[in-house]
């Protein structure tokens, strides 16, 4: 058994799991965070995307042990008690999610992009989402939602934008 401790959505969580357990299984089965989905289990579809130490990764390709000691953000950690994350808000307003199964992965890929690049071009958004398969939406409204979320986030913290530019 492997003992793992990590910070998930800002909280310290631990578990003792067989060594071949993936991060996806750990999140879903041990921590009851079922937002990350099992779509293919081999890293082709992106439905399991989570953010580990600031980077969007396929949780099905990472062993639980590899996430030991790291910061993990799942879809459940994006909103707060007070409000939805702007990305969640714009996806809702634009109709960017239909069946919703790919949603958590897409939103986290978008967040990872906007955290690093607050003013992405359409092509940069397409690139960031290219690892997330969606069969329902055709991606069109998703791209609009990410653009709108980027705008809202820039409005919220112009100081951060200035900092990023220097």
């Amino acid at each position: 058994m492997t003992d793992v401790t990590m910070i998930v959505n800002g909280q310290t969580r631990s578990a003792s799991v067989p060594p071949e357990t993936t991060l996806l299984q750990l999140l879903r089965e041990q921590f009851n965070l079922t937002g990350a989905k099992l779509g293919c289990d081999v890293g082709d579809c992106g439905a399991c995307t989570v953010i580990v130490d600031g980077q969007a990764v396929n949780a099905c390709l990472m062993l639980a042990g590899q996430a030991d000691g790291r910061q993990v953000l799942t879809i459940e950690g994006m909103a707060s008690r007070e409000r939805l994350h702007p990305i969640q808000k714009t996806f809702e307003n634009s109709g960017g999610l239909q069946c919703g199964f790919c949603g958590p992965g897409v939103l986290l890929s978008a967040k990872a992009l906007l955290d690093e690049n607050p003013d992405p071009s359409t092509q940069e958004i397409r690139d960031a989402l290219s690892g997330n398969l969606c069969r329902c939406t055709g991606y069109t409204k998703m791209i609009e939602a990410v653009q709108e979320a980027a705008r809202l986030l820039r409005e919220e913290s112009p100081a951060q934008l200035t900092h990023a530019q220097t």
């Binding site: 707060s80 409000r83 809702e92 109709g95 069946c99 919703g100």
Partner: protein
Amino acid sequence: MDDKTKVLEREQLDIESLRESEVDLRLPAVVPREPYPIETLAPDARQQTRAVGQRATRPDGRLHGLGQTRYIDDLSFPGMLHARIKRAGIASARIKSIDTSAAESMPGVMAVLTGKEIPTNSFGPSFQDQPVLVDDLVFHAGDGVAAVAAVTEQIANEALAKIVVEYEPLPAVLDPVAAMREDSPKVHAPDSNIYATKVIRKGDIEKGFAESDHIFEGRFSTQMIEHVSLEPHAAIADWDANGRLTVWATIGRITLARSDMARTLKLPMSRIRIIGTIVGGNFGGKNEITQEPALALLSKKTGRPVKGVFTRGEEFTSTTTRHPIVMDYKSGVANDGRIIARQIRLVLDGGAYCSWSETTLGKACILAPGPYKIDNVVAEAFVVYTNKTMTGAMRGFGAPQVCFAYESHMDDIAKALGKDPLEIRLLNAFDEGSPSPTGQVLHSVVVKESLRKAADRFGWEPRS
């Protein structure tokens, strides 16, 4: 002091010391919950009292964005087991024996199921030609041969490898046109591989061709396609003590699912409850039962809820797909571009089982002439068994295939006659009140409006 008082004193002592300690007394089974905002104020579009025409946001959209939507695989119940199905891996065979003993004796394996244990081992929306688990003949490589329920999915996977099946390979036929021949191997012997036909006749086709200035012919074909819903097929089955079955399923047709479960399990419908959760994509691929009767029987055998989730591989090998179609078109056209006569022959690859093929056949045949005013039409369609994955309902039921054919054909005609592709379509397209190829008077017809609107938006200018 008697024994009872001693026990009470001791218990009180323990509670006191616990209260003083710093041990976290919360039960470990209480699951922490991630915070989310509760907004009771509805977005503007949802508050308007003329509701039709509003760009109203979806309530499930918010839950999706929070990751709170519970799909089948997100549900779990106390004591729940995980099921997996062993796939044949061979396209056509007779099963000589199935030995499940090694799997059954594995620690953690709670039950194994084979086809002969299923009360009525056949289902299908039109012909009941599909077994839940094959027990004599294998019809395609994705057929289910046996099912196991175990305490973890990993153990269930390992158990599959321990099930030993002896096959006698039989000849397989993979090409639908070849399968139409009398000397082809018969998929569901002794019946012909052609399992349904459809014909539409309108006007006088030979006269129409005779009156035409030009005859054009073309053959078009399309491929087998998989729905690839992001959520795989999944279901959970559980019984209560009164012998009442509840199934949570990704099926888009729960009324049909209930009647299929009643039939395969020989149960009255009042003893069956089917609950559809929010499904992660269907597109036609989740419109009939697949593993549900097997899960129900595994649950009955073990007395525990049983969950089955298809792997991505099984989504390709063992769920319905889009019909590949070979389409032959022959059109008689006047000099000005009017289509006088059209003859069409469609051969649909009908896979190993009928599934939604009859519906697909019918729609493809009716739609095949295209949205055009044609006085003389003959459309013949055949659907043929092959030893490949069953073909069923997929977004369009044959329409995307025939549209590819008739619109490619139309452009070929336009090019040969030197006509603009937009103009030739406007010349031939249905008007309000036009008769369809089946003689139906059409209403609310806007195909020309759609042509003009798209052309306008696109910036389609005729080329000189």
